[in-house]
């Protein structure tokens, strides 16, 4: 039964993708099928997590995992399983995908080539990505993780290069190709690392590796380094983040949402699930990774201060948030793992919401240029309020989800695992805390200029502008004070509501997530402090 549930979670989006592809010539029907698929997947994931969450036993136990020989000659197994760590990310992902596909019902992004919109094909690709992502979260075999990791790549590349920023074809393609090349290089190196682990530990089964493998020696170090390198590209960790701002800002709204909220989590999840077990805290590699994470936090915040484009700003803020996640993992403590998973989930919810809002602003005003966006409080008050809420959550306001991940990561860094230099980590914690302050600075600056902004001269109001009509290309048009656009509509409330509600819920009751993650981390990684 559990096997069916686990396989089903991968098969369901894949099956619906196939179904939607069959009707993709009729666009509405295809999107409809895809939305049904995404909702079914979400429901399925809730069922799966509740069922496996209540059952006892370790991650790799036969009654709560799937283990089928896939390629005997290479000892590859089709191993799927779920615990509190992956469960949290699975739920977040299925929710975000459901929201992203639901938003396509309203209207999809234009085909940047100027051809038909082909929203149906976009929905199909998103479902394929979802299948790959869920497979990665469930995979307990290192090579299977790699395979699923790669599944999402080609579809995502299409999403960026076909439906991305319509104004600049060359930049869009460059962003897409850069995303592809960086990720593939990273994942290929990660694969080499996995194969080295296999040579050392004798199995691809990560549950067994975590239980019985004690990494030591140069080969184990090389393996850990390669795995970290591959995941650092995906996460991304400074200085391997350079593919991210372009990819996130040139992608269509749903693409940015999925990229930021879900695809980055493959990297952070990989750090917890596949890097920590093959790494010894005694190595210098670990503090180096932590230090790079902290550099990323500060760098992300400083880069945000310099951004003139809303989508690029949100993209850079992700670099900072991912820094907290990796810092948490690199402390090798229970609190650190909790912080990493919590921050991942929170970032998925909050940044997903932010990108949705940025997309909605772009739909209404035709731009995400911060110099042109002013006084949104006055023009679209509810949307402005929601943006302020998401920005507050993102900068780590206590009481909202963004706070706990960052706070726990810093706390974990103050007292890292035995074997890690406490002085170094205290300094890192201190600098990371500075990063939090800088993050507040840039989000507050954006809120001030974009939501409030200096008064511009009033012009007669234009009510009820049809969203589908030609968007203003005249730069002045967008900044006129009375230039009202439709505020948040019902469809958008349905899409964004769950993300916002969960942001509050996790902020108020972090134990909902922290307790199962702690149980899972203890069971999976064993002797964590």
């Amino acid at each position: 039964m559990n096997a069916v549930l686990l396989n089903g979670l991968v098969a369901l989006p894949a099956g619906f993708a196939l179904l939607a592809a069959l009707v993709s010539r009729r666009e509405r029907a295809a999107v409809g099928v895809a939305v049904v698929g995404a909702l079914a997947t979400f429901a399925w994931s809730v069922w799966l997590v509740l069922r496996l969450g209540s059952a006892g036993g370790a991650l790799g136990d036969p009654d709560r995992s799937v283990d089928v020989v896939w390629l005997e000659a290479l000892d590859l197994h089709w191993r799927l399983g779920l615990d509190g760590i992956s469960g949290a990310l699975v739920l977040m992902s299925t929710l975000v995908f459901a929201a992203a596909l639901f938003s396509l019902l309203r209207h999809g992004p234009d085909d940047a080539e100027g051809g038909p919109r082909r929203t149906g094909s976009l929905a199909v690709l998103l479902l394929v990505i979802e299948a790959g992502v869920l497979g990665s979260f469930l995979a307990l075999d290192m090579v299977l993780f790699f395979v699923f990791f790669e599944v999402a790549l080609i579809p995502m590349w299409f999403v960026i290069s076909t439906w991305g920023d319509a104004h600049d074809a060359a930049a869009r393609r460059r962003a897409a190709t850069r995303f592809l090349v960086f990720t593939v290089t990273g994942s290929a190196l990660m694969l080499v690392g996995f194969l080295l682990v296999r040579a050392e530990a004798g199995t691809f089964d990560i549950a067994r590796v975590a239980a019985s493998y004690t990494p030591s020696g140069p080969t184990a170090l090389a393996a850990s380094l390669l795995v970290a390198l591959g995941l650092a590209v995906k996460t991304p960790l400074w200085p391997l983040h350079i593919w991210l701002p372009d990819a996130h800002s040139k992608a269509p709204t749903v693409g940015s949402v999925v990229l930021a909220a879900v695809l980055l989590k493959l990297g952070t999840y990989g750090f917890v699930r596949f890097w920590m077990p093959v790494t010894s805290p005694d190595w210098l590699l670990v503090p180096v990774v932590a230090a790079l994470a902290v550099v990323g936090i500060v760098y992300g915040a400083l880069a945000c201060l310099a951004q003139a484009d809303l989508k690029r700003l949100i993209a850079y803020s992700s670099v900072g948030h991912m820094g907290f996640v990796v810092l948490g993992a690199a402390t090798f403590t229970l609190g650190g793992v909790q912080a990493a998973v919590f921050a991942s989930v929170a970032h998925g919810l909050i940044t997903g919401l932010l990108f949705f809002l940025a997309g909605a602003i772009k739909d209404r005003y035709g731009t995400t240029d911060l110099a042109e966006l002013r006084l949104l409080y006055g023009k679209v008050p509810r949307m402005g309020g929601l943006f302020a809420f998401a920005a507050m959550a993102s900068l780590g306001l206590p009481g909202l989800a963004g706070f706990w991940g960052e706070m726990l990561a810093i706390r974990a860094a103050v007292s890292p695992a035995a074997g890690l230099s406490e002085t170094t980590y205290r300094w890192l914690a201190f600098i990371a805390a500075l990063g939090v302050i800088l993050a507040s600075a840039y989000f507050l600056a954006v809120m001030r200029s974009m939501l409030q902004g200096p008064a511009v001269e009033a012009t007669p109001s234009v009510d009820h502008v049809d969203v589908g009509a030609a968007l203003p290309t005249d730069r002045v048009a967008a900044v006129r004070l009375g230039d009202r656009r439709p505020d948040v509509d019902a469809g958008e409330w349905v899409t964004w509501g769950p993300l916002a509600v969960l942001t509050v819920a996790l902020g108020v009751a972090p134990g909902l997530l922290l307790t199962p993650v702690a149980d899972a981390a203890r069971a999976f990684l064993g002797g964590l402090g």
Binding site: F158, R173, T177, A188
Partner: protein, 506 residues
């Protein structure tokens, strides 16, 4: 009866023999029938070729039944050997069977592809199919050869008809030029290889792979001569597999030759050179692996890097496939670079991964060439932009090519291509991690040009519905076979890879 009358195991030489006999039948039938009077008659040689391939495959399957009990079956043995087991010239083991399967698949697909040229009428079908069967006979024989002379002769049987195939199209000056270039390079490589073989013979006193191995294990006193000979032999074979720096003939020859011949060169001819490498290095010279493995490893790194980097700038589809096939040869050579000082069992395991990669490459690369043959019927210039909108205009061919490209790049949904990459990575990770890292970077470079082509396929055509293809039935079949095989193997990779890896690797 000592050494004068031999018992010949006809079942073992049956598969190559079946092709050779079919070749003669095709030639005679063509000579007596005269020039074809109808299109149906022009297809007769291709039909005969496919029949021959079928018979050969059946005989191969029967031979396979035999090997199960005995492991290896040999024939043409020297009787009355003074010590040790009698050395044999022909032997069939799992490796041979795997290569036979690859060759037969390749020949069948190539014969189907050539039917696209029937309408044009510039290639004499009878002669062409005769040449194809003749070179295929050589490719079958090389996989079964167990002495250096048989190996060399078989390799020449692969090459000589291939020169003619490249240049057979009437009134095509580029094809003639390609043929001459190919010929010159090949002759030089044969000369170098002969030199190497004579040195190995001089150092060990035998041409039989088994005896060479024994002589070197026993401590041949002229080890440096044997090493030199080994390296020269490897050089000769590397011309065939088109490893850098012996790859210069590839792009011009592929582009000048008819597409079916380019497909043949990129799969069957490459496989022949490749099996030659396995035989010489792993069967005859495993003791010298510390000498040849690093050399081949560096060569593998260079081959994939040069192939991938130069493919980046290509706008011509076949030239791009040519450079990509150079790069793929580099991946295939990676396991050879990771067996320095390995035990015999380990070496067999590792090299079986090369064979696995080759098998996967054969299936997907033939698929790519098959679709190129279709597009070539309308756009002989084969620019990448000519492929724009193929998925919409001709869905079967379009998706088949898209699948072949992602599989060559090693990404899902071409899972089989991805697993092939995993195979090669797994052989190098550990013994030659640097090579695995070089390969990881190369996989990313390769992706750029495959993705570029893929993009063209999926973009809407400039004028929708303008490019309606008249897919020749034979080519359609070839596409169908390779596409279906690729998809099936992607879901059940064990079907293809388990027999290869477990069988050859033991």
């Amino acid at each position: 009866m000592t050494g004068i009358v031999q018992d010949i195991d006809w079942l073992l030489i049956g598969p190559p023999l079946a092709l050779a006999i079919t070749a003669v039948v095709v030639l005679l039938a063509d000579a007596f029938a005269g020039p074809p009077r109808s299109r149906a008659q022009a297809l007769v040689p291709a039909a005969l070729t496919l029949t021959g391939v079928g018979v050969s495959a059946v005989l191969g399957a029967l031979a396979m039944g035999g090997y199960r009990d005995e492991g290896t079956r040999s024939t043409f043995c020297v009787t009355g050997a003074l010590e040790g087991p009698a050395p044999c010239s022909i032997a069939v083991d799992q490796l041979t069977l795997v290569f036979w399967a690859i060759v037969l698949l390749g020949v069948a697909v190539v014969a189907l592809l050539e039917t696209a040229d029937v309408a044009e009428g510039r290639t004499p079908q009878g002669e062409w199919n005769f040449l194809l069967l003749a070179t295929a006979t050589g490719a079958m024989t090389i996989a079964a050869s167990r002495d250096l002379v048989t190996l060399l002769v078989a390799l020449e049987v692969v090459s000589l008809p291939a020169f003619a195939m490249v240049g057979l199209r009437r009134g095509d000056r580029r094809a003639s030029e390609a043929s001459v270039k190919f010929f010159l390079v090949s002759v030089v490589s044969t000369a170098v290889m002969l030199m190497g073989i004579s040195l190995v013979y001089g150092a060990t006193g035998s041409v039989f792979l088994e005896q060479i191995d024994m002589a070197i294990s026993a401590g041949a006193d002229v080890r440096s001569v044997a090493v030199t000979g080994a390296l020269l032999t490897v050089v000769g074979l590397c011309f065939k597999v088109a490893a850098v720096p012996f790859h210069m003939w590839v792009p011009d020859t592929y582009v000048g030759a008819p597409i079916a011949v380019a497909a043949y060169l990129s799969v069957v001819s490459k496989a022949a050179g490749f099996v030659g490498l396995v035989l010489v290095l792993a069967y005859a010279l495993p003791e010298l692996s510390t000498a040849w493995s690093p050399v081949v490893g560096v060569m593998a790194a260079l081959t994939m890097t040069v192939g991938n980097v130069l493919a980046l700038w290509q706008q011509h589809a076949v030239r791009l496939l040519a450079w990509s096939s150079v790069a793929q040869a580099g991946y295939m050579l990676v396991p050879f670079g990771a067996v320095a000082g390995a035990s015999r069992e380990d070496m067999a395991t590792v090299l079986s991964r090369s064979a696995g990669y080759l098998a996967v490459y054969a299936v997907v690369n033939l698929g790519a060439f098959a679709v190129a043959a279709v597009v070539g019927t309308r756009f002989p210039r084969q620019r990448l932009v000519d492929y724009r909108g193929l998925v919409r205009e001709e869905p079967l061919a379009g998706w088949a090519l898209a699948f072949a490209l992602v599989a060559l790049a090693g990404l899902p949904p071409g899972v089989i291509g991805l697993l092939a990459k995993v195979l090669v990575f797994s052989s190098a990770a550990g013994p030659a991690t640097w090579l695995a890292v070089v390969m990881a970077v190369n996989v990313a470079i390769g992706l750029v040009y495959y993705a570029r082509w893929l993009m063209e396929l999926l973009r809407p055509a400039e004028v929708a519905g303008a490019s309606v293809y008249d897919v020749p039935n034979g080519v359609g079949m070839a596409i169908g076979i390779t596409f279906t095989a690729g998809v099936v193997f992607s879901f059940l990779p064990g079907l293809l890879l388990d027999p290869v890896l477990l069988g050859v690797g033991r």
